[in-house]
């Protein structure tokens, strides 16, 4: 059996160093190698894909991106590594883990406990995407897209609109388009007021709406379109959504 490849992600250096020591203590009983470390989730995603990690030990409580959001982004990979969550004291997360029978470690971590978690991770236990979504207390700060075996993050604030097309959802920023495997309904629920639905198949970032204009005549009736900030494209508003959108326009 090839040794398991482990990555440690924690924003605190002493915590990473302690985890290295503990892993070292486990090595005799459980062969593995530490192939990378990162101090935050964004760097962590890169480290994980570059080092082809099998297991990630990730702290929940980190700046910019929580450990749970990090794990959610990992799931866009074709073969995501196993995730072991680590927390000092997070009542909410611990309850969520218990309810969903997810494995987690509490700091200070005991070597014996770490060993059990590693064995479990090696056995192929993986949290499902929907479980991770359900336990994340806050909306994500990024959308994630798998591109050439890596995770590309798109900050939520950069998204202009999301449009459903057959199997995928197209996510449009000022610069480019990405394909994400999510449903508009879920996105609408997760981000609350950030995006507004202008059409059955389209969500627009509220703060990117510059105005509305009368569109071309279709079916003998002129519809309205959203004029966007930073993109020339105009998006049609469905007749069903128009009353709500109109209220928004004031």
């Amino acid at each position: 059996m090839t040794p398991l490849r482990v990555v440690i992600i924690d924003d605190e250096e002493p915590a990473r160093s302690r985890m290295r020591e503990l892993l070292e203590d486990c090595r005799a009983e459980f062969p593995h190698s530490v192939v990378g470390e990162a101090a935050n989730g964004v760097d962590g995603l890169q480290t994980v894909t570059e080092s082809a990690a099998d297991v990630v030990l990730v702290d929940i409580h980190m700046p910019e991106m929580s450990g749970i959001e990090f794990a959610r982004h990992l799931q866009v990979l074709e073969r995501p590594p196993a995730v072991i969550f680590v927390t000092a004291h997070d009542q909410y997360a611990v309850e969520a883990f218990e309810v969903n029978a997810l494995d987690y470690l509490t700091k200070p971590v005991r070597a014996a406990r770490l060993l059990t978690a590693l064995r479990k991770a090696a056995s192929g236990a993986r949290p499902s995407r929907s479980v991770l979504e359900s336990i994340d207390p806050a909306p994500r700060r990024h959308f994630s897209v798998a591109e050439r075996g890596r995770v590309t993050l798109v900050p939520v604030a950069e998204v202009v609109y999301l449009r459903a097309e057959l199997k995928y959802v197209t996510l449009r920023t000022r610069e480019r388009e990405h394909l994400v495997e999510e449903s508009l309904t879920q996105i609408e629920q997760e981000f609350g007021g950030i995006f507004v639905r202008i059409h059955r198949n389209c969500l627009v970032a509220r703060r990117r709406i510059r105005g509305f204009e009368r569109g071309d005549e279709t079916d003998g009736e002129a519809g309205w379109s959203v004029v966007l900030d930073g993109i020339d494209e105009k998006l049609p508003v469905s007749r069903r959504q128009w009353p709500q959108i109109k209220a928004l326009a004031g």
């Binding site: 002493p14 004291h89 997070d90 200070p108």
Partner: protein, 353 residues
């Protein structure tokens, strides 16, 4: 909830106790079901009888005779009154103090009057004057005991405030404890000396947190506590945590409530430093301005992390402790300005209790 009610004083409406707002407790009847209260009533009434007998007798023989005579008429009334009060206590509890007091008088006088026929059977002498005399004695005694409880109530009010203070004692976040222990563990193999220092800081910090924190302490001591705390945070946050101290040496001797600053510094780290990848600065500014002490603390404000809990609780806690110590003379205000969260405390500048 804080155990404010204590054993002896039972406030009238228990939901009022939950609020730790007002300074002195309003007057309240004692809890007539409390053994301490009952024995106090029995003892004080008998002591009164003793004094009365002593005042009306010239020698020991007469004193003994007098005492027996008084006891004979007093004890049955006293026992019936105490038992009646015991039975009525739940009702009395619900009344406002003045009406409760009236009700107590009514009960005692009724007991006296009811037992009067029995007294006349034993003692012989009856009639209107005797009854009036008995009622007068009963009313006088009741007033005396009521006065005694009133004074006692007043004397124990500060104790209640202290109980509140104790309940309000600041607590350190478990998040901090476990992270710090983890950081210390990381040092033990590499740098045992530093690990020792860190554990000593941690011990000192918890000694203070667990100590009896009701007395005001010198600002100097509170600041050194903050430094110990920040040393520990520095250990795990490293470069990310920067502190800018702007202290007024003239304020060192000022007396402040213990743990008035440490929880705020802890909040500043938790809400201001931890959510950021880039280094952040906590600024602590302390100044003495005439008879006022100004404390100001600012930290970077992270709008996205406002779902993190605990801030308001710590603030409410400190605000109430300030109020208990200084009443309206102290204030605590917060605001957000220029991307920074700012807490300002003003309290009287005092150097002796």
């Amino acid at each position: 909830m804080p155990e404010v009610a204590g054993a002896r004083l039972k406030p009238r409406a228990s939901n009022k106790v939950q609020s730790i707002r007002q300074n002195p407790l309003p007057d309240a009847l004692p809890d007539f079901r409390n053994l301490g209260v009952i024995s106090r009533i029995l003892l004080s009434v008998n002591a009164l009888a003793l004094l009365f007998a002593a005042a009306r007798s010239r020698d020991v023989g007469e004193f003994a005779a007098k005492l027996t005579e008084i006891a004979g008429s007093l004890e049955p009334v006293l026992l019936v009154a105490v038992v009646s009060l015991y039975a009525a206590s739940t009702l009395l509890e619900r009344l406002e103090y003045r009406y409760g007091l009236l009700a107590v008088f009514a009960i005692v006088l009724a007991a006296t009057a009811a037992l009067f026929p029995v007294q006349t059977l034993i003692g012989g002498a009856g009639g209107g004057r005797e009854l009036a005399w008995s009622l007068g004695c009963a009313a006088f005694t009741t007033a005396g005991v009521a006065w005694y409880f009133h004074l006692r109530n007043r004397a124990f009010s500060p104790a209640i405030s202290e109980a509140r203070l104790q309940a309000l004692q600041a607590r350190i976040r478990p998040h901090f404890l476990f992270n710090s222990l983890n950081a210390v563990l990381s040092l033990i193999r590499k740098d045992p000396k530093r690990a020792e220092g860190a554990l000593e800081d941690l011990a000192e910090l918890f000694r203070t947190v667990m100590a009896d924190n009701r007395q005001l302490i010198a600002l100097r001591d509170e600041l050194s506590l903050c430094r110990q705390y920040l040393n520990l945070e520095q250990l795990r946050l490293g470069e990310r945590l920067r502190v800018d101290w702007r202290l007024d040496p003239a304020a060192d001797e000022a007396l402040v409530p213990p743990m008035v600053l440490q929880p705020l510094v802890e909040n500043a780290v938790y809400h201001g430093i931890e959510p950021g990848i880039a280094p952040g600065v906590i600024e602590v500014r302390i100044e003495r301005r005439n008879d006022r002490l100004w404390l100001q603390l600012t930290n970077p404000y992270h709008e996205d992390y406002q779902h993190r809990q605990g801030n308001r609780m710590a603030l409410a806690n400190i605000r109430e402790r300030l109020q208990l110590h200084f009443d309206v003379e102290a204030s605590l205000n917060t605001r957000i300005a220029d991307g920074r969260y700012e807490i300002g405390i003003i309290m009287p500048y005092r150097t002796s209790l």
